[in-house]
Amino acid sequence: MEGAIPPSFIADSIAKHASKTGIGGHNIFLGQVRTDDIEGKKVSAIEYTSNVEMALEKMHEIRESIFAKYAITCMHVHHSLGKVNAGELCLFVFTSSKHRKVAIDACTECVEKIKAELPIWGKELFEGEGYQWKVNS
């Protein structure tokens, strides 16, 4: 989605699952833009760009692999594109399952795959001027 993910969007997403009464546990991971301090310069925002077509194909593959491996009821993933300010949310991964452990493991694996496999790049914009390209650990 364009820009930051609003907390109200997350609440709506949770509320939609009240009718799915077979669910026993949800796990949610939220990525938030940090004010990293790099040699005296502060990150004020990250601007995300993507190879959108490939990212969508890859996300589809990741979904399939997670559903094949874990007995989850549903999974929702949103990654910001464009500018996200420090303190705002840039990633939302939401898994639900009958059993808590399945939801937690599926969510964690999905987050790792998103960071490693999705063709998305973050440009860390400094306060004032300048930038550097984000590097995932």
Binding site: G31, Y48, T49, S50, N51, E53, M54, E57, H79, C90, L91, V111, I114, K115, A116, E117, L118, P119, I120, W121, G122, K123, W133, K134, V135, N136
Partner: protein
């Protein structure tokens, strides 16, 4: 006969462009030679290459009308 080459992330800083049209070559090795000569800064950069949205290897053939993507290490999330 040309193919489209797209640059992403920090590679745009190195080439100054997000995409170019370039003469079709049979192999990726040949393509990279041309790119390195046109954009010397690319030479020291880490990237992977996709042809028509599929990851390519050194020996992948380049179809005519291919869309080629040069992508640096991902940093989403």
């Amino acid at each position: 006969m040309t193919v489209e080459v797209q640059f992403f992330g920090q590679l745009i800083d190195k080439t100054g462009k997000s995409s170019i049209q370039i003469e079709h070559t049979a192999s990726l090795t040949q393509l990279k030679e041309i790119l390195f000569s046109d954009f010397p800064l690319l030479k020291g950069s880490k990237f992977i290459i996709a042809i028509n949205n599929k990851m390519a290897t050194e020996h992948s053939a380049i179809p005519k009308d291919a869309k080629i993507a040069l992508m640096p290490p991902f940093s989403g999330g």
